[in-house]
């Protein structure tokens, strides 16, 4: 074990993480390379080959080659994930297998990260900075046993750096990016500055600090910005300006079998909405002056994580994490007066807030046997959430808007066994029981198996059951007046999901130096008791209620392939996802067509390096297939489910990276969205009656083709 962890920390120290997705500059491919180690869902860091879970890795090199500042920048290229951005707020979220970010958990060092409305879920990807990240591990499918509630479609675990092989490591970088064709040093484009320093204080102590400022100015498109006092829909921005400041601090201690680290991350974000509507102030006999009702969202996130890893009674290995996290999003209304260019009547309120006390821990090596190991774990979650009335519609019985404040707790215990029948065959059953404060007690289970054949062939088969807990809107919405009746439902139960996945992969090395990795996997998922707003009566007004009613079925098949030859690396993935959802309309008693609707995605990456020039070229390509879904647009007396279709598009990112002076100075230029995809067509066709209702619209996908330059100065000694 000791050797293993030594190797592990060395790997980390070098930033020398082996991966085959796309190679980093430092990496050389040969048959004797160190095995790639993964952490997520493992008892102990272990080789990706031995892992029973099918772990996918996004490496530090990928993050670099994409000049990724936050999670959005990398996940755009990930095969089964589609990233959607709110065109106005610039918030972006991931959906996996067609299930949105409520079913997908984002973790930092194995701890779910707080978001406005979730713990690990509903994460705004742009708020997850990648400055101090070593790699990202993704496991698709049901992970309810190891990661608890809402780990339904998968988990994403961000592994941060916690050690350095240098006494001092200093790094500063600037990144200047266009937003489409828009750029200027102050008012347009995206401007990123970052600084990092780490130092080995002594043999045992390590500390690092980092600061990152990401200043994304508003995307104008055809809009006119802030100072445009005319009511012709011209004022404001197509995409709102967003400014983020993140800091990260890590203190690590390591002695013998004991490893302790403490991390503190802070995020401050400001997003400002400039209202297209200008309001005149009559000033007769002088000309009118104008102002606008503008608004900004201010987010603060505090993330504390203390982790203690060590041995007890010489044998038992324990790993305990304590975490306190808080995210608060305020809304500040103000009037912007054009003549004076001045804000007045500023009024700031809490919009969303969530405070979390969290602890998780495991004990392993209980049996002291190589054949059979057992992990016992717990997860305690105490969430205190607040949602302002304006976030949803929370009214009381006399129709006064009310904020909602609730505390949710769950105390979970779980056990996982790893049965290594032979060196080749492992079986991994697990079970979790969750004591819930708000809902009925829950449980999840999973079973995984792995077989290593000869010639580098690995096979995996896993199945699991996980659940999603209802959210605030689903539970507490209350909007009843003379024209509306939409009610949340406090009797909702959790959504239940079953998932099965089979996977075969093969690593091949040829004498010529060609290395090859091929993988095929297929999964099947059922989600029952899906929550949906359902029309429950039509008289006297249309009444809607959240009910556990819909079903969701998904199956997919995906293949990932990677090739390395000399200075070339190429990877290609193909994925076909089929989703069947049955929507119900309670009043008419009708249900939608539940046939499978398919989406086909391709991603490829090609890189080439010129060692003699310390230069690397990388191109990423992703084809996002057409997506379809049924929507209920029934009107009184007529049930109508329509098929809504979002057209396919291709996305290419490319970059060139070159280092000078022995790696001290690093430059990078690149382009995002080279094919300049700006809007997507969404069409709606009626499925019943045919053609009676049809509509189409466009969705703004991004800002168009953008370019970036990144300069980094590294000083290590």
């Amino acid at each position: 074990m000791r050797i293993k962890s030594l190797i592990f920390s060395l790997c980390c120290a070098n930033g020398f993480v082996m991966n085959a997705q796309v190679d980093s500059l430092e990496q050389s491919i040969d048959d004797t390379r160190l095995e790639e180690l993964v952490i997520t869902g493992q008892f102990e860091p272990q080789s990706i080959k031995k892992s029973v879970h099918n772990v996918r890795v996004i490496s530090d090199a990928d993050i670099k080659n994409l000049a990724a500042n936050n999670l959005t920048d990398v996940l755009n290229q990930y095969l089964n994930i589609s990233v959607s951005s709110n065109e106005q707020s610039g918030k972006s979220s991931a959906s996996l297998f067609g299930l949105d970010s409520q079913y997908f958990k984002v973790l930092i060092d194995n701890i779910p990260v707080v978001s406005d409305t979730g713990l690990g879920t509903n994460v705004d990807l742009t708020q997850i900075n990648l400055d101090n990240v070593e790699r990202i591990e993704i496991i698709e499918g049901s992970m309810g046993v190891t990661h608890g509630a809402n780990a339904v479609s998968g988990i994403l675990n961000i592994i941060t750096k916690k050690s350095s092989k240098y006494d001092w490591e200093l790094s500063a970088s600037v990144q200047e990016e266009t937003l489409g064709k828009e750029f200027s040093f102050f008012d347009k484009g995206r401007h990123i500055q970052s600084f990092k320093a780490s130092h080995n204080l002594s043999e045992n102590w390590y500390a690092s600090v980092g600061v990152n400022r990401n200043d994304k100015r508003g995307f104008f498109d055809d809009r006119k910005g802030i100072d445009h006092p005319v009511n012709n829909d011209g004022r404001g921005f197509r995409q709102l300006p967003k400014e983020q400041l993140t800091t990260n601090t890590t203190i690590g201690y390591q002695k013998d079998e004991t490893r302790i680290f403490y991390k503190f991350d802070y995020l401050n974000e400001t997003v400002t909405f400039y209202n297209p509507v200008v309001v005149p102030i009559v000033n007769y006999p002088f000309p009118e002056t104008y102002f606008s009702h503008d608004k900004r969202f201010l987010t603060n996130r505090y993330f504390h994580h203390l982790n203690y890893y060590g041995k007890l009674f010489n044998d038992l290995i324990f790993n305990v994490s304590l975490s306190h996290q808080k995210q608060q999003r305020d809304e500040e209304f103000f009037q912007y007066h054009f003549a004076e260019k001045e804000e007045r009547a500023n009024d700031r309120n809490v919009y969303h807030s969530k405070e979390v006390f969290y602890s998780t821990g495991t004990v392993t090596n209980i049996t002291k046997s190589k054949k059979v190991d057992l992990q016992l774990g717990y997860e305690f979650v105490n969430e205190n959430s607040f949602a302002n009335a304006s976030t949803g519609v929370f009214l009381d019985n006399v129709s006064q808007a009310n904020g909602i404040r609730k505390r949710l707790e769950n105390y979970d215990v779980y056990a996982i066994a790893e049965l290594n029948f032979t060196d080749r065959f492992s079986l991994r059953p697990g079970f979790r029981y969750s004591f819930q404060s708000k809902f009925d007690d829950q449980y999840s289970y999973s079973i995984g198996s792995r077989y290593l054949f000869d010639k580098g062939v690995e096979a995996r088969l896993s199945a699991g059951y996980a659940y999603r807990t209802p959210n605030f809107d689903e539970l507490y919405t209350y909007m009843v007046d003379s024209n509306h009746n939409i009610q949340g439902n406090q009797d909702l139960v959790t959504e239940k999901s079953n998932y099965i996945e089979a996977n075969v992969k093969k690593n091949t090395s040829f004498k010529s130096g060609l290395t090859m990795y091929n993988s095929v996997s297929s999964g099947l998922m059922f989600v029952d008791d899906r929550i949906s707003t359902v029309l429950i009566s039509q008289e006297p007004t249309l009444s809607y209620k959240y009910i556990n009613i819909d079903t969701y079925k998904m199956w997919n098949i995906a293949s990932e392939n990677r090739f390395g030859y000399k200075n070339w690396n190429f990877s290609a993935g193909l994925s076909l996802i089929g989703v069947s959802q049955q929507l119900s309309n309670n009043v008419s008693g009708s249900t939608s067509d539940d046939r499978f609707l398919y989406t086909f995605n391709i991603n490829t990456a090609l890189s080439y390096q010129l060692p003699e020039y310390q230069t690397q070229f990388t191109v990423y390509f992703k084809h996002n297939g057409k997506t379809q879904e049924f929507a209920d647009i029934s009107s009184p007396g007529e049930s109508n489910f329509v098929l809504s279709e979002l057209e396919s598009y291709n996305w290419i990112d490319a970059s060139v990276r070159k280092t000078f002076f022995n790696g001290k100075f690093e430059t990078m230029i690149g382009a995002r969205n080279l094919l300049n995809v700006v809007t997507l067509q969404r069409s709606t066709t009626s499925s019943i009656g045919g053609g009676a209702h049809s509509a189409s619209g466009t969705t703004l996908l991004g800002v168009g083709r953008s370019y970036f330059v990144k300069l980094t100065y590294n000083l290590n000694f």
Partner: protein
């Protein structure tokens, strides 16, 4: 050491970013007459000169004087005293206006043009002279050349109708629910419904008012419901009333079922939303209208009544209509005389998409029946300030009371999440030209419809005689 220097200079470069602070630029302060003209109805009139910002120092304003059939010291004097050619008005520091008094000594003879015109020629402090640089004080009643008005329609419920006479600047405010039917005073025998409360009328194809009838909810007007045949033609053309012309032959005058529409809401809506038609339903009546000499014999009853009331309503040529209220159970005064109003700020039942009655708050009706016609001008074609008599296109004055209508505002704005939200949006790219019953032509600019906090139902406008 060198590498540290290099590193930290790079770091400085990295942290170069600083925001360019927006400079404060509110423009120079300005001075103007409060109005461009006034009629001297009193012996002593206050003439107001406004400052756009409170004065920072004391000073004086020098006015030029031009007399028409009036002589200083004989026909008028001022306080402070001036001369036939000049008047100097001192002002203090910290004031937003200064007033001089104009004493009318000799009134004008009927029909005489007699006035004094003042021009701001100079101001001792650094103020810009703009807005109304001149003001004309008329000894006789003369059409005003411009003003800013704020009709009191009553906030979000818009409970009032406000009739405006531009030439006098007079505003007449009446509650919308103060009347139900209007009996036409012109040549035709026609009766209109109060379309500010969503009334509708339906012929019962019977002449017996004593028959008990029932309510008919298909007549109610709300989003997507109601019939255009049961409301008056929104153009205001008198031959388009929902109730057929009252025939001289009584047997042809059918009983009508009258839906009295909706009250303004008594509860306060969310800021940005109107509450003009969300009050309680006003009830039902059955009516039958016959001719009586050169007037009307009006018979009405509750639906379940087997007897009815009857009143005689005469025509009065000075007014467009004589009005009747079921609530007052009597004839009531509503509109000013037909040549004494040009605009009516009201709510309105319009037709939307060709075949659906649709209720509009923030509506402006021009008095087309009295001869006031209006049309809109885009600021892409002319600016309000530069628009003159020469730019007026007479062919655009058409016989429609919706010359302004709802075209001066929108009611939805994109919210921060991209979804539309209810909000009053003034169109700043349009203004209007109106010809009043006397033939005066005005340009009109709407300047607002909601309070700064977004509360609906607070329209304002400025106008100026061409």
């Amino acid at each position: 050491m060198k590498k540290y220097l290099l590193f930290f200079s790079f770091l400085l470069l990295a942290l170069y970013s600083c925001k360019d602070d927006n400079g404060v630029d509110s423009g120079p302060a300005a001075v103007s007459f409060a109005v461009p003209s006034a009629n001297l109805t009193e012996e002593v009139t206050d003439v107001v000169i406004s400052f756009s910002q409170t004065t920072s120092a004391a000073g004086t304003i020098t006015l030029g004087v031009a007399e028409t059939e009036a002589e200083y010291g004989v026909d008028y004097t001022t306080s402070p005293a001036g001369s036939a050619s000049q008047l100097t008005v001192p002002f203090e520091a910290g004031v937003s206006k200064v007033v001089f008094k104009f004493n009318k000594l000799v009134p004008a003879v009927e029909g005489e043009v007699k006035n004094v015109k003042y021009t701001i020629n100079a101001i001792s402090t650094n103020y810009e002279i703009k807005g109304n640089t001149t003001t004309v004080l008329n000894f006789n009643e003369t059409a005003l050349t411009g003003k800013s008005l704020a009709p009191q329609v009553g906030g979000p419920s818009q409970a009032n109708q406000v009739y405006i006479d531009l030439s006098s600047g007079a505003m007449t405010t009446v509650p919308r629910i103060s009347w139900d039917l209007g009996f036409y005073s012109g040549n035709e025998f026609r009766v209109i419904l109060n379309n500010s409360v969503k009334m509708s009328a339906k012929s019962l194809n019977s002449t017996n008012l004593a028959t008990v009838v029932t309510e008919d909810n298909t007549m109610l007007i709300s989003q997507g419901s109601g019939s255009v045949d049961q409301i008056d033609n929104p153009t205001g053309v008198i031959t388009g009333t929902a109730i057929a012309e009252v025939s001289a032959n009584d047997a042809e005058n059918s009983v009508y079922l009258i839906n009295l529409g909706s009250n303004p809401s008594s509860t306060v809506p969310p800021l940005g939303s109107p509450a003009a038609d969300s009050g309680s339903h006003r009830g039902w009546k059955k009516v039958r209208i016959l001719r009586s000499a050169n007037g009307y014999k009006f018979q009405y009853a509750d639906l379940n009544a087997t007897t009815f009331n009857e009143v005689i309503i005469d025509k009065n040529a000075a007014f467009n209509f004589n009005f009747f209220s079921f609530t007052a159970n009597a004839a009531v005064n509503v509109e000013p005389q037909k040549e004494k109003w040009d605009l009516n700020f009201t709510t309105f039942t319009n037709i939307f998409g060709g075949n659906t009655p649709y209720f509009f708050p923030d509506f402006v009706v021009n008095n087309s029946r009295g001869g006031a016609l209006a049309y809109s001008v885009s600021t892409a074609d002319f600016s309000f300030d530069s628009f003159t008599m020469a730019n007026v296109d007479q062919s655009k004055f058409i016989n429609d009371q919706r010359g302004i209508g709802s075209s001066w505002r929108g009611t939805s704005a994109p919210g921060p999440d991209g979804n539309p939200m209810s909000q009053f949006v003034l169109k700043t790219d349009v203004f209007y030209v109106l010809k009043d019953p006397a033939g005066n032509i005005y340009k009109i600019k709407m300047t607002g419809g909601a309070l700064p906090n977004l509360e609906r139902g607070h329209p304002t406008f400025v106008y100026s005689l061409l």
